[in-house]
């Protein structure tokens, strides 16, 4: 059951009609009654949530709860079995292939693996979206790329190849590429995973600064509680294919649902048990079965 602690304008809220409505202007993304199965596994079970324009919205939850899949559904890379995903009021699930590619130009995405193009250097990686989608003259592209790289602190690394970058720097280059066309929405897939403390601090600062400087909306998927809580304005907690809790990060620590608080506090035992299901320990110890 979803229990919202947030302001009325934000959240999965009841009454979503699944169609373009007057509230659309307030929300960049509206997910309505989303269902997705992968073989026998239920990934999303009638999931509904709304991501407001502006600010940083985080989707959290234990590993394997479909957080990355959710980003792929929003980007139109995965088609759900049923339900609707409205991006700027248009249903992504019903777009044609060419409409999807058009819509994605307004989305910047940062993958966990950075996914830099390995056959071209840092400069060309950042210039790639500009070259493909615009007719800007070479001088302008050069200036823009330098500005984007400067924003992530890697202007001096523009001639390096991706293989010469550390994981943290590669992610910053990928971030510069994600913001190359000043998108309406930037989606971050586990941006803090595998980062050393310094890189983590740099990425945290960049996400916050870029969101404010560019005036974009950010959707962040992560299971790193402390970092996410520090920068997110609003958090959804997913489990078993549903939103089990939502609200501003601080409020979620005192959420009435024990499942939410266990996750937010990182308790080892609780509704998600520490022990894998098994017989009673005493019975196991006294049993003569080998």
């Amino acid at each position: 059951m979803t229990e919202s602690l947030g302001p009325d304008t934000v959240g999965s809220g009841a009454g979503s009609t699944g169609s373009v409505n007057a509230q659309t202007a307030d929300y960049l993304i509206e997910i309505d009654d989303l269902c997705l199965m992968r073989g026998e596994k239920v990934v999303f079970d009638h999931l509904s949530l709304k991501v407001p324009r502006g600010g940083i919205t985080a989707v959290m939850g234990p590993s394997g709860t479909g957080k990355t899949t959710l980003l792929r559904v929003i980007g139109g890379q995965v088609r759900p079995d049923s339900g609707a995903v409205y991006l700027n009021g248009k249903d992504v699930c019903r777009m044609s292939r060419s409409e999807l590619f058009e819509a994605r130009r307004d989305i910047g995405m940062l993958f966990q693996s950075s996914a830099l193009f390995t056959d071209i250097n840092v400069f060309e990686n950042v210039a790639f979206p500009m070259r493909v989608h615009t007719d800007l003259p070479e001088d302008t592209i050069r200036d823009l790329v330098i500005m984007k790289l400067n924003a992530v602190g890697l202007r001096g690394a523009r001639d390096l190849m991706p293989s010469q970058l550390s994981g943290g720097r590669a992610r910053r280059v990928a971030l510069a590429r994600a913001i190359a066309l000043d998108p309406d929405l930037i989606m971050y897939d586990e941006p803090f995973t595998g980062q050393d403390p310094i890189s983590m601090g740099v990425i945290l600062t960049l996400i916050r600064q870029l969101n404010e400087a560019l005036g974009t909306s950010s959707l962040l998927v992560s299971h790193d509680i402390h970092e996410t809580v520090n920068i997110a304005d609003y958090v959804f907690v997913l489990a078993d294919g549903k939103v089990i809790g939502e609200g501003p990060p601080k409020a979620l620590r005192d959420h009435p649902s024990r499942r939410v608080t266990q996750f937010m506090r990182g308790d080892p035992d609780g509704p998600v048990p520490f022990h894998y299901p098994a017989d009673d320990l005493k019975y196991d110890l006294l049993s003569e079965d080998v």
Partner: protein, 260 residues
């Protein structure tokens, strides 16, 4: 028995699904003809697929031409027909060995490289991020490679045939001492433009199309893991080689008429 039938049915369905995906990929990539801006991408692939295969084609062509001339000369000399080396060499190369050996080498060098490159791009999510940037990988990655292979393979076959004939000349004329006049005039009088050269090139075009298609699809459809990539690369070489040899038989049967 039921278990065996079920297994055969499942494998057949899996194979048909793969064929369907491969056909869809090919159709979606090639249906839209290249735009002017795509030309540079195709030229780069012609370089990667074609130009970088030149060394192996030249070396193999020379060796095969030389060894065929050696065998022909040894056998024909017993009947005093050494001059026929040129005719035999040209017909064997233009009709059969040229396109077939070039296709086998092409699959081993360029085909495996295409599969590995696209497979790695898929494994490292480069194809996925391209999609998320609003760039169609079928247009940007798949189509230029299909066109590049389609253009390169016939050109490599021409190169292979030329170098192989030169290899035959070096061994047959310069080393073993066959008469150059008989060698060249026999070739000129017997070889026909369409019947020998043209039909051989048809084979080259078909092989180029099929090998590149298999290579691109195996990379595009591979399991995004190291093991999946290795499997896909092996499949490209094995499937291409078997299909080239099988298709060569049927194309020969189809183009050169009734042999009975």
């Amino acid at each position: 028995m039921e278990h065996v039938l079920r297994r055969i049915g499942a494998e057949t369905l899996r194979w048909l699904q793969g064929l369907g995906r491969a056909t869809m990929m090919w159709a979606m990539a090639v249906a839209r003809l290249p735009r002017w801006s795509d030309v540079s991408l195709i030229v780069r692939q012609v370089y990667n697929i074609g130009v970088l295969s030149v060394v192996i084609i030249v070396l193999s062509g020379f060796a095969i031409g030389a060894v065929i001339a050696l065998q022909f000369y040894t056998q024909l000399a017993r009947f005093g027909a050494e001059d026929a080396v040129g005719v035999g060499l040209a017909l064997v190369l233009l009709r059969e060995l040229g396109p077939v050996v070039t296709a086998l080498l092409f699959a081993g060098r360029a085909g495996s490289a295409i599969t590995a490159e696209i497979g790695l791009m898929k494994t490292t999510e480069q194809l996925s991020i391209m999609e998320m940037m609003g760039v169609d990988p079928l247009r940007r990655i798949v189509a230029p490679r299909l066109w590049g292979g389609f253009i390169s393979m016939p050109l490599l076959t021409v190169l292979f045939n030329t170098v192989a004939i030169y290899g035959g000349v070096v061994v047959g004329i310069h080393w073993l001492g066959a008469d150059p006049g008989g060698f060249w005039s026999g070739m000129q009088n017997t070889v026909e433009l369409w019947q020998d050269l043209g039909k051989g090139m048809v084979k080259a075009v078909v092989f180029g199309l099929v090998v590149t298609w298999i290579a691109v699809f195996q990379g595009y459809d591979c399991e995004p893991t190291a093991e999946g990539m290795g499997l896909a690369t092996t499949r490209t070489v094995v499937m291409s080689s078997v299909l080239v040899l099988a298709m060569d038989f049927f194309l020969t049967l189809l183009m050169y008429g009734d042999f009975r």
